[in-house]
């Protein structure tokens, strides 16, 4: 009996920790050992109070371990770290648990894809959510699944969307209180987008918010005819949450068809917007549309960064947003009020924003049959990769592109499961070796008070890497060139770099394992973890 009791005691010790409570999610910034949600914390600042690695010793970073994925597909996933265990998605939808200190595997879940999948931009996945001892993942073939975080065993799965119709699940879910929230991707396939909440116990749907309102619903007046039924408005990046205001914020994708707006006159709400929702019932509290009637594919699928600070002499609850359309925005996140907006890259589709933040469009910048060169490019002046807010410098930093596309207008034809886009732009993806005007990438640090860049770090190529900042005075990021680097958060000076030999298309994270601060980033098809030389 005593032996059993001892064994039980051991098991309970093992089971203690390595789980995530709703409280852990709220206080994520106070536990710098872990990275418990896609954006690291509900405010999505991608900032950690960790200073073992700092400006004075970052040059002593060394490689601690590499984990190689058994997949050649694009590595966009960001891992979670919970009490020494790292959970990462191997493209497209396998899940692997690793020892965060050594990179050795505990277990592996292999998802068997079913049916055919129609995706615009690769079979990508951005990550996981965790609550209790369960991991949650959306899959390319349209399922929400729950895994046992201790074993990788499938606990339940629920089919949410029809992948043959162009729907897929690529975003990392967000757990808010007792619900798992995620939405559907597929904005190039004439979908009707939504965001919904599900029970963590069995996947039962608890509420649904349609990003394209149906007849009789507020916002439907911004559509004509039946265009709303194929109006797009996908959700493909994890939102943020303010526990004090009890509001969730999510960015929405482009209207469909992308590059020909003739079939959908009007502002096309709630595409290219941020929507603020009540997490208990999914009711819309406010919205702000960044690009009404978008015809350039400027999804507002960026991460809402929530900051409480003094702004222009008054303490405010702010939302900072570097948008794909080239403008940096400051909003009051309690009510959606537009406070400031300034371009952070060359913008030719609009001459500026009016007093309410509505863009003043430039004549002749819309796609045409012959093509129109317009800034930013179709990939945007920035895109889905994470920005960071550093409370010590008070600066909002992000990866930017200075690049243009030639936008063509074509005839959109809806056929189920095929792209519904209306032609394609030229100049989608710069290549420094082949393009005459490949543009360039920058890391910019913007002062939210003014919207002006305080510093810029310029790269020859462009970047798809998000940013991570820390109390060590550092910003970590990477580039498509394959460099992983650390900048001085105060002035953008390059302090350290390593050539990882593959593009970075995710965001670095930092955490501790056995007391040592580590930084992990994916490059190419592998995860690389760095720490200080011991």
């Amino acid at each position: 009996m005593m032996r059993i009791a001892i064994l039980l005691g051991l098991f309970s010790l093992t089971l203690a920790g390595q789980q995530v409570t709703s409280g852990d999610l709220v206080s994520a910034n106070e536990n710098a050992a872990n990275w418990v949600t896609y954006n690291g914390s509900y405010d999505s600042r991608h900032y950690r109070e960790l200073d073992q690695i700092k400006t004075s010793n970052v040059s002593n970073l060394e490689l601690k371990w590499v984990w190689q994925a058994h997949s050649l597909e694009k590595f966009e996933s960001c891992p979670l770290v919970v009490d020494g265990v790292m959970y990462v998605v191997q493209m497209p939808n396998d899940v692997v648990a690793l020892d965060a200190r050594t990179g050795r595997e505990f277990w592996r879940y292999e998802h068997v894809m079913q049916g055919r999948q129609n995706v615009c931009c690769g079979r990508v996945n951005r990550g996981l959510a965790m609550l209790g001892e369960r991991l949650f993942m959306g899959t390319i073939d349209g399922k929400l699944i729950a895994l046992d975080a201790k074993t990788g065993a499938l606990e339940w799965e629920r089919e949410l969307v029809d992948p043959e119709g162009g729907y897929s699940l690529t975003t990392a879910p967000l757990v808010v209180k007792d619900k798992v929230v995620l939405g559907t991707a597929g904005g190039e396939y004439g979908i009707r987008g939504w965001l919904a909440a599900f029970s963590p116990e069995n996947g039962e749907e608890l509420w649904r918010f349609w990003t394209i309102p149906a007849p009789g619903e507020p916002g439907h007046e911004t559509w004509k005819g039946d265009a709303w039924q194929r109006g797009g408005g996908s959700i493909w990046l994890t939102g943020s949450y303010d526990p004090d205001l009890d509001l969730m914020y999510w960015g929405t994708g482009n209207p469909a068809p992308d590059w020909n707006g003739d079939v959908r006159p009007g502002d096309n709400l709630y595409t290219d917007s941020v929507v603020a929702l009540d997490p208990d019932d999914g009711k819309l509290k406010w919205h702000f549309q960044f690009t009404p009637h978008d015809v350039w594919d400027y999804d507002s699928v960026q991460i809402p960064v929530l900051v409480d600070r003094e702004w222009q002499g008054r303490q405010r609850k702010l939302m900072l947003w570097g948008n794909r359309n080239g403008f940096f925005y400051v909003l009051d996140r309690s009510n959606g009020e537009f406070l400031l907006g300034k371009p952070f890259a060359k913008v030719s589709w609009a001459s500026g924003l009016d007093a309410k933040g509505r863009p003043m469009r430039t004549e002749g910048a819309e796609p045409s049959r012959g093509g129109v060169r317009t800034w930013p490019s179709v990939q945007g002046a920035t895109n889905w990769y994470a920005p960071t807010y550093n409370p010590e410098t008070g600066l909002f930093a992000l990866s930017t592109w200075e690049y243009a596309s030639v936008y063509h207008k074509g005839d959109p034809e809806y056929t189920r499961g095929n792209r519904y886009i209306g032609s394609l732009p030229r100049g989608v993806w710069p290549d420094v070796r082949k393009d005459e005007n490949p543009g360039y990438g920058e890391i910019q640090a913007i002062d939210p008070e003014t919207g002006e860049a305080r510093w810029r770090y310029r790269m020859t190529g462009i970047s798809e890497s998000g940013l991570l900042s820390s109390s060590g005075g550092l910003i970590f990021s990477g580039s498509l060139e394959g460099y992983f680097f650390a900048l001085d958060a105060k002035n953008g000076e390059l302090l350290w770099r390593a050539n990882l030999g593959g593009r970075m298309a995710n965001t670095p994270i930092t955490y501790t394992a056995e007391g040592q601060q580590l930084v992990t980033v994916a490059a190419g098809n592998s995860l690389f973890t760095f720490g200080l030389r011991e």
Binding site: Q117, G122, G186
Partner: protein, 258 residues
Amino acid sequence: MLAKALPLCFLFATAAFAQHGVEGLSNPYKTPEDAEAGGRIFRSHCAVCHGPEGSGGKAADLTLGRFRHGSSDSDLYKTISEGIPGTEMPGIFFNGKQMWQIVAYVRSLSEGRAAEQASGDPAAGKALFFGKGGCSNCHRVNGEGSRTGPDLSDIGAMRSLAHLEAALLDPDQQVLPQHWYVEAVTKDGKTIRGRRLNEDTFSVQLLGVDQKLISLRKDELRSYQVVKKSAMPSYEGKLSDAELQNLLAYMASLRLTR
């Protein structure tokens, strides 16, 4: 959402037509109207990777008439409908007629070039290329000549006669970025020139004039510039009309066996 250059996924199912099997069939829809209809679909679904004119970009250049995954009509049908597993090439899902029309359009991209006839003597042009003309001092054909300029082993399949003539007489008219060259001066005053192979924020990789591969760190250079002109001199007035025609005939004859 076009998050990044559209490419893509693998798709394991086949289009409805393919499920009935197309192996060994030739294209029943190959009129100019069919190719035009296929072109409309191509521009919507394929052009983002293969380029609006099919001349490549992120994905293969389809104007060369070279198809690595099979060049029969049914091979092309299968590749387009099913995609290429293990690559970013997806399948697309249209009815059988539309799929054949896409095949017709893809075929049309590489037609026409073979019909061009040059008036000169290719053998005399070859002698000029490797002799008096000095072309092989920079260019390579089927393993002979220097690598410092573009390899011309397949240039007859890739370029029209008019384009080749323009390139000889006015080389700066169009210089593709992959043929730009670099002039760098090291901190100890040494000048280095070569064709730019690659470049990033911190370094640049060259094929030097002596055919050596060179990698330079930018922070070790005194100066550095990418020259966007051709390193080739104009042949305007340097060749007789007959010599020019002979050289063009030789270049037009350069096609790799497929």
